[in-house]
């Protein structure tokens, strides 16, 4: 039986506090909503929190080995769910992301995050291939690419990025040198640098000298050079040939929820909301941006803006510190775990939370694009909350069983 005293209560209390702050903010966000249904969102979220806590309790009671051995099976089931949602899922705002069971919507892409964390963790835990071997890199990339493709088809660009982050985190954690990570990411830099030919030429010179110094292998080097050329020369060439409406269509395809009212309306309103909160905030239920409907998606994607407006800098700092505590503890746990699978799972879970945390808050502050990624614990959404608590459960479980191999 579990000895509750040995659980990492710091993580659990931080997670619980964040979830309760989330419920409070959802209540505030929808307090003056038109329909009683919207006003009751916080009650539904409370109910979801109970379900999430049950999931958490189940996860910490189960042996970690069970997740280990069933990781690939779970991955397979999740893939079939992702295929299924494309066939029979319900559509909202041009995207097919949910299974609808009456009032409950299940997003299998949330489940897929967990599945990818477990599958990759298992693979990296037992593979005999050296960290930078081509087969190892290629296999894990393909394993990640399958759910990404299915999710891009929904389409949902933001969520599909989460999977790459899991892969990158685990590549690094299982020993891949940052040199490789930098080189793998270099095509993206090439794309940005391609905005001016001189910048791109300079960048390319730096890239070549970097390759020459680090000598990552002939095939890998050629691959890097070719992809960099492709991203830096061909993509801008095609992009410039496209008509404006085609570009817009492309962007809309990548992100359907993108700016429906134009001119970065959502971001502007979110920045006004957070900034006008000042140091002390306007007080619970007193945020004019929130309550006069200026803030879009205020109970889901922009919940942090409600926090910033009503509780100001101190409230935001409190939430950030609670997240910081969770990340800090997760890193410590991952370091001391003796089981490589457990260690990988903690890093993968933390990477999911950290990425969503940063991208979501970055979006509300105006320096990240609008992606539709939820803020863990705080954003309204049942599956998201259950997933978050499952990830926390895995982290706590890994900590509790740190001595197991």
């Amino acid at each position: 039986m579990l000895n509750y005293r040995d659980l990492d209560w710091r993580i659990i209390s931080a997670a619980l506090l964040l979830s309760m702050i989330g419920i409070l903010l959802i209540m505030s966000a929808q307090h003056y909503a038109d329909s009683a249904y919207s006003q009751s969102f916080y009650l539904r979220q409370s109910l979801w929190l109970l379900i999430a806590l049950v999931a958490f309790a189940v996860v910490i009671h189960l042996p970690l080995r069970l997740f280990d051995v069933s990781a690939y099976l779970f991955f397979g089931i999740t893939l079939s769910l992702l295929v299924l949602v494309l066939l029979i899922g319900s559509s909202r705002m041009g995207a097919t992301r949910w299974f609808s069971f009456g009032p409950i919507n299940l997003a299998p892409s949330d489940v897929a995050k967990l599945a990818v964390v477990l599958a990759l963790s298992r693979f990296f835990a037992y593979t005999k291939l050296p960290p930078a071997s081509k087969r190892r890199l290629a296999f894990t990339a393909i394993l990640t690419l399958i759910p990404v493709m299915l999710i891009l088809k929904q389409p949902d660009l933001g969520t599909s990025l989460v999977f790459w982050i899991i892969l990158f985190a685990l590549w690094f954690w299982s020993g891949l040198s940052p040199v490789y990570l930098i080189l793998i990411l270099s095509p993206l830099v090439s794309l940005v640098a391609a905005s001016h030919w001189l910048a791109w030429v300079l960048y390319f010179a730096v890239l070549l000298s970097f390759l020459f110094l680090s000598r990552p292998g002939m095939l890998f080097s050629v691959l890097v050079v070719v992809t960099n050329l492709a991203f830096g020369v061909i993509t801008p060439y095609i992009w410039n040939r496209m008509a404006d409406y085609q570009k817009l269509r492309m962007l809309t395809f990548l992100d359907p929820g993108r700016d429906p009212r134009g001119a970065g309306y959502q971001i502007i309103q979110s920045k006004i909301a957070i900034g006008s909160g000042g140091v002390w905030g306007k007080g619970l239920l007193s945020g004019s941006q929130t309550h006069l409907d200026f803030l879009p998606e205020r109970h889901t994607d922009f919940i942090f803006s409600v926090l910033g407006e009503e509780f100001g800098l101190w409230g935001s700092l409190l939430v950030i510190m609670l997240f910081g505590l969770i990340f800090y503890r997760a890193i410590r746990i991952a370091t001391r775990c003796r089981s490589r699978f457990a260690s990988n799972v903690v890093v993968g879970a933390a990477a999911v939370l950290l990425f969503q945390f940063f991208v979501n808050i970055g979006m509300t502050l105006g320096f990240m694009p609008v992606t539709g990624l939820a803020l863990p614990f705080l954003s309204y959404g049942g599956t998201s909350l259950v997933l978050t608590w499952t990830l926390i459960g895995l982290i706590v479980s890994a900590d509790y069983r740190w001595q197991e191999y």
């Binding site: 050296p130 960290p131 930078a132 690094f172 954690w173 020993g175 040198s177 940052p178 040199v179 680090s214 000598r215 990552p216 292998g217 309103q269 920045k271 006004i272 909301a273 957070i274 900034g275 006008s276 909160g277 000042g278 140091v279 004019s288 941006q289 006069l292 409907d293 200026f294 910033g308 100001g312 800098l313 935001s316 700092l317 950030i320 997240f323 910081g324 990340f327 800090y328 890193i331 991952a334 370091t335 890093v347 950290l354 940063f358 808050i361 970055g362 502050l365 105006g366 320096f367």
Partner: protein, 604 residues
């Protein structure tokens, strides 16, 4: 190829470093927005939610001298459509059917008046109450249709007062750009003509401001508590010098003819008692949207209803200014009261031209007073020759002709008072005959005056030569309770000695009461009436009929000038009209006096 596994310590440190870095980036973003940009963003958040809504001030009411309404305001209903709430097809087609317009017309108006999808766009102004009732009762059939109440200017019908009231309308772009145009916004009501224009600042009051909290979709959430509204200040009420009874009589009297103008003034103060331009128009049509067909019919009307005849209608004064000619000659010592010039045998030979007198048989030998009484042209021709063009013109000038009277109304005309300079310019030096003075002496030729100028001149004649500025405002009542009573303003003294004036007054009396007076038909037992007839030759048609009447002659209180276009002899048309107006005035005065006498007697 470096294949060595990195140490756990190194990886842990790297990850911690990345997490710390990301947290610091977020912290930086928060500090930037919530501390550095706080003021700016807080202000934007306030601006976001507050809409400034104008509170329209009630426009001042205009009364006649006895407190009867000339202009007031009535509530009216405007039907609007809020585009964001309208249901495709249902709203527009149901509304179009109800207000009797084509669907396409309603759609066109919606597009034209759309400010944004959340604000009502007016479709039809001044909608009858029955339609409003239908919309209110069957709201379900008209989603997105809203009713606004507005005040609309109402001009009391039948007064023929539009020549001085003017009218209002929506402020134009040019008017808003004009210097000193403060407080007007798109859609503001502004005085366009008449006293509505001249006293716009007094009448309009001051618009207030309400601060409304709105949602992102523009829906009102009620008053904003952070900022108290500035209440609107109603406009000042005006009490005019006008007497509605006289106004109505003017319209009735002119109603039998095509066109004309009447001005009634109190010579003791310059107060305008009545003023009308006939035919007039209904000033109410400008308060709401004028139908195109109505506007076309007004513009194409050959009787020119929009011409403001009393102040901008130009007429030859004809025989009415014979007093001026005689007076000038008396002042200059060229004739005396008893001077008999060459007798009138129906005309006068000057050079190779024969100038007729209006009476073909002639008047025989007359003195100065007799010449006025019988309006003998031949006597006046001779007086004119004695004076010469420039001296006569100087007297016209000193009597106010050729200048605006300065009445507080826009659009007043100067009239025309020709002198040799004018003729030089018009015909060339030495290219005109000295004989033109003969025409000028009898108020014909190029001389043009407005009915108001003529009335003002006669007011001076019967007021010991003192001429006041004609005025319309008896008092201004400010909403705070203050009252301002403008005082009379002397503009000039007529260039006649008291002896001359006495003589001219006697002549005025004889025109009505004399044995040979041209208006002897007006003689009555009730009060003593004086006046001067005029028959203006009109090259475009029948003669204009003029008469300026004065009563009571012992101590004149009212001067009435009537000009009736194309109506014939002054004595036949204008004179009886003037008497009708003066009758009303005198009956009122005498009955008031008898009531006063009665109560006095009872008191004894």
């Amino acid at each position: 190829m470096p294949q060595s596994t990195l140490s756990l310590k190194y990886r842990q440190a790297t990850v911690l470093f990345i997490v710390l870095g990301l947290l610091l980036v977020i912290l930086g973003g928060l500090v930037k927005l919530q501390i550095l940009n706080y003021r700016e963003l807080a202000e934007q958040s306030e601006n976001n939610r507050i809409r400034v809504q104008p509170l329209v001030a009630g426009r001042g009411v205009v009364y006649d001298r006895e407190g009867r309404i000339i202009i007031d305001n009535r509530p009216s209903f405007t039907v609007s459509v809020v585009a964001s709430e309208a249901v495709r097809d249902t709203t527009i087609s149901n509304l179009a059917a109800l207000i009797g317009l084509d669907t396409s017309v309603v759609q066109k108006r919606l597009r034209k008046n759309l400010v944004n999808r959340y604000q009502p766009a007016p479709i039809m102004r001044d909608v009858p109450f029955e339609i409003v009732a239908v919309i209110e009762e069957q709201a379900g059939r008209f989603p997105g249709v809203s009713i606004q109440m507005e005040e609309v200017r109402r001009y009391t019908p039948g007064l023929g007062s539009e020549c001085f009231t003017g009218h209002v309308g929506e402020v134009s772009k040019e008017e808003r750009r004009r210097e000193g145009a403060v407080g007007y916004r798109l859609g503001s009501i502004i005085g366009k003509k008449g006293l509505e224009k001249h006293h716009d600042a007094l009448l309009r009051g001051r618009e207030g401001t309400a601060y409304i909290e709105v949602t992102a979709s523009g829906q009102s959430r009620g008053p904003y508590e952070g900022k108290a509204p500035t209440p609107a200040v109603a406009g000042a009420d005006l009490v005019l010098t006008i007497d509605n009874d006289l106004q109505r009589e003017c319209v009735a009297a002119l109603g039998e003819y095509c066109c004309g103008a009447i001005v009634a003034m109190d010579p003791r103060s310059g107060e305008i008692l009545a003023m009308t331009s006939y035919p007039g128009f209904d000033a109410n049509i400008f308060s709401t949207v004028i139908p195109e067909s109505l506007w076309q019919s007004i513009m194409q009307d050959t009787t020119h209803p929009l011409l403001n005849r009393p102040i901008s209608g130009l007429y030859p004064p004809a025989s009415t200014t014979k007093l001026l000619t005689i007076g000038a000659a008396l002042e200059e010592g060229m004739i005396s009261a008893n001077t008999a010039l060459k007798p009138c045998y129906g005309g006068y030979q000057f050079g190779n031209r024969y100038f007729r007198c209006w009476l073909p048989g002639g008047h025989g030998s007359l003195n100065a007073v007799g010449a006025i009484e019988q309006s003998c042209d031949v006597y006046l021709y001779q007086v004119g020759l004695k004076l010469g063009i420039d001296l006569l013109s100087q007297y016209f000038d000193k009597c106010g002709f050729g200048h605006v009277t300065g009445v507080a109304l826009p659009g007043e005309e100067d009239g025309l008072n020709p002198n040799s300079e004018y003729y030089d310019k018009r015909y060339g030096k030495k290219k005109w005959s000295r004989g033109l003075v003969l025409n000028n002496a009898i108020g014909q030729g190029e001389i043009l005056v407005t009915p108001l100028q003529l009335a003002q001149f006669f007011c001076g004649l019967v007021n010991d030569g003192i001429v006041y500025r004609p005025r319309l405002i008896k008092s201004i009542q400010f909403p705070e309770g203050q009252q301002v009573i403008p005082s009379r303003q002397t503009v000039r003294k007529l260039p006649f000695s008291s002896g001359t004036l006495e003589l001219l007054l006697e002549a005025l009396r004889l025109v009505v009461e004399g044995e040979h007076g041209t208006a002897r038909g007006l003689k009555n037992n009730l009060y003593s009436l004086g006046g001067k007839t005029g028959t203006a030759e009109n090259p475009h048609g029948d003669n204009h009929s003029l008469f300026v009447g004065v009563a009571p002659m012992e101590r004149p209180e009212i001067v009435v000038c009537a000009v009736v276009e194309n109506a014939g002899h002054g004595s036949e048309v204008a004179a009886p009209i003037v008497k009708r107006i003066i009758d009303i005035y005198m009956t009122k005065k005498l009955s008031l006096e008898s009531v006063a006498d009665l109560s006095h007697a009872e008191g004894d």
